[in-house]
Amino acid sequence: MIDEKREKFIIPIGPQHPALKEPGHFEFTVDGEIVTAASVRLGYAHRGIEKATESRNWTQNMYLLERICGICSHIHALAYCLGVEKLAGVSAPPRAQAIRVIVAELERIHSHLMWLGVAAHEAGFDTLFMYSWRDREALMDVLESLTGNRVNYSANLIGGVKFDISTDQRDTILRALETLEERSKHYLSIVTSDMVFLRRTRGIGTTSAAQAEKIGLVGPTARASGVARDVRVDAPYAAYVDFPVKLVLHTVGDLESRFVVRINELFESYRLIREILDHMPEGEITARIPRRIKEGETISRVEAPRGELFYFIKSNGSDMPERIKVRTPTMCNMASVPVLGIGQQLADIPMILAGIDPCFSCNDRTTVIHQGEDGDVWTWERLRQHGIDFYRGQP
């Protein structure tokens, strides 16, 4: 075939596609099996949560914001609570902070184990997928017995936590961690030694530290490229001040190192939870907080399982926030997919996408789609008319 005559052959992935459990649209232009161009379009799961927070009171918002992400629900509520507490000038008692961190780390473990399964599934390694999810189940049971729910734990309150950790529960957690630690060691040896699996991960999607800095990667994805970036270390919050975390780094930056970094973070989480449980601060678990929050604005940063989670909170002195802005880690990491995808095999694309641990409903905060229009502000009527015209024009 003559090159000039060759049509662009585009593989669309999403918004409905078996590789993605959430909606997002990717277009990969391929030449044979090699990807030559890629584009991302997000915004299918935009739910208007930030606007909705402005018509709910401070307490109700916690539960709404917790539902931004089903996997890292606790960390969203934590970021919000820390921010609101900072605005109100109250701080949660040390025991509450410790419990918050324990739940956050348990959540990180469950998120990373789930990611391990999903990434293995993308590579067609369903056995690893089934086993890692089976073992994750033990942790879900712990979270359920501890907080009362398997997802959306609702452990936080503004000014503290809902529950205490009893001695019995402490033992349950420690027992679960023991089995999980042993299994994690096993998984680490699998992902670093299985020949067939390594052929799908080693040297694929390599991101150099400089590239990671330039794209602005966060979380384990950045740490796999050797970028030392972790909010728990850089700006410790809650109980991380008293119980410091060791930074887990890897320098290669390919898919294998993302596996290694995430599994090694599991070990760090196990260690941290044990340490906190051994040195639990005594005392109250809630602090009194006014229904109306003082006027002012603040930012709150925490380390979600996927990377830095950022909250901007502004209060006008009433019982409802004036503005809340959320930036989730997937937003920062998503830019790496079209960059890294170019030049790779089509078969590696789902792996590269899964490698950043994407969470689409998290990152769909705002949608801006340029279609040749200038970037002015549209009135509601114009937007509505545009919608009507757009769908009329469809075949």
Partner: protein
């Protein structure tokens, strides 16, 4: 009369379809157990087929309708016909003539070929990529698989399946030609597009590959063809390498052992990329089995 019965009921037709579904169930159940899951109940494959047959068949625009309808039928027919030449259920093949091994093998490849054609018939990009991968994979495993099955045939001195089967009863080829056995087993995985050779239908990349546009009856027929091929392929490899098949009990035992081996292999490996599949077959599979062939020829030459 008896021939019509043989084609429609036993060992062709109904028996094959039912047997194919049972083997498919056994495969799924075994993999589920290997992954510490419960797995489907015994009628799941039947339920799948019935459901698909009941559903509407959507013929997409931009395809040749004739090809779209005919290809699944040809694929199933090819798989069913190939069964008439193999010692199904440990009984003598229905039809047998000198050189039927080659015929049976090519009839088995018809399914893959039809899948490839069906994919390239549609305008959908997933189907096209799937079809390319299906055909690429066909060219990579076909030759080594053929040569691996010819090993026992050469040892038996005949290219007639029934004679090789008879010869194998006194010679366990799996021990005499271990390389050929392994290549045949892995070749069967490739032929059936099972993991790790499922890149032509890798759901996380190209949805269902060449089958993406198929629904309803067409898809059911392709699936049935795949199930029948699983049974025929197992029979062929078991009769050649596992000491022949001469009664139903032996048939069931040996094919199930083979199936267990295949399930373990399937559950142990991640999906290979298509370039890795081609590399694997031509760099290792073909060379190994050819090397073994050469050794066999030399030994044969010296002893005769």
């Amino acid at each position: 009369m008896s021939e019509i019965l043989a084609i429609l009921v036993f060992p062709g037709g109904l028996f094959l379809l039912a047997g194919g579904m049972m083997y498919e169930w056994a495969d799924r159940k075994l993999i589920a157990r290997l992954q510490n899951r419960v797995g489907p109940r015994w009628f799941q494959p039947l339920a799948d087929v019935v459901k698909l047959l009941v559903k509407e068949e959507v013929i997409p625009s931009g395809v040749s309708t004739f090809l779209f309808v005919v290809l699944p039928i040809v694929a199933l027919a090819g798989a069913l016909t190939s069964a008439l030449y193999v010692p199904l259920a440990g009984l003598a093949p229905t039809f047998s003539f000198s050189g039927d091994l080659i015929v049976a093998l090519y009839l088995l490849s018809l399914l893959t070929l039809c899948t490839g054609l069906a994919g390239s018939n549609t305008t959908d990009s997933f189907s096209l990529v799937g079809a390319t991968r299906t055909l690429t994979q066909l060219f990579s495993y076909e030759a080594p698989f053929l040569v691996a099955l010819l090993g026992p045939a050469i040892a038996a001195g005949s290219w007639q399946i029934s004679e090789v089967n008879a010869y194998a009863q006194s010679h366990w080829m799996a021990f005499l030609q271990p390389v050929g056995f392994v290549v045949a087993l892995i070749g069967l995985l490739g032929k059936l597009e099972l993991p790790p050779f499922d890149s032509p239908e890798a759901e996380t990349e190209i949805v269902a590959g060449a089958m993406t546009e198929y629904s309803g009856r067409g898809l059911a027929l392709f699936y049935l063809g795949r199930k029948v091929e699983l049974m025929v392929g197992l029979t062929l490899v078991a009769s050649f390498y596992l000491g022949g098949l001469n009664n139903p009990l032996e048939f069931v035992l040996k094919t199930l052992v083979l199936l267990l081996g295949m399930s373990v292999l399937q559950s142990l490996m991640a999906r290979l990329r298509i370039d890795q599949v081609v590399g694997l077959w031509w760099r290792y599979g073909a060379l190994l089995v050819l090397g073994q062939w050469l050794v066999l020829m030399l030994i044969g030459g010296f002893t005769s």
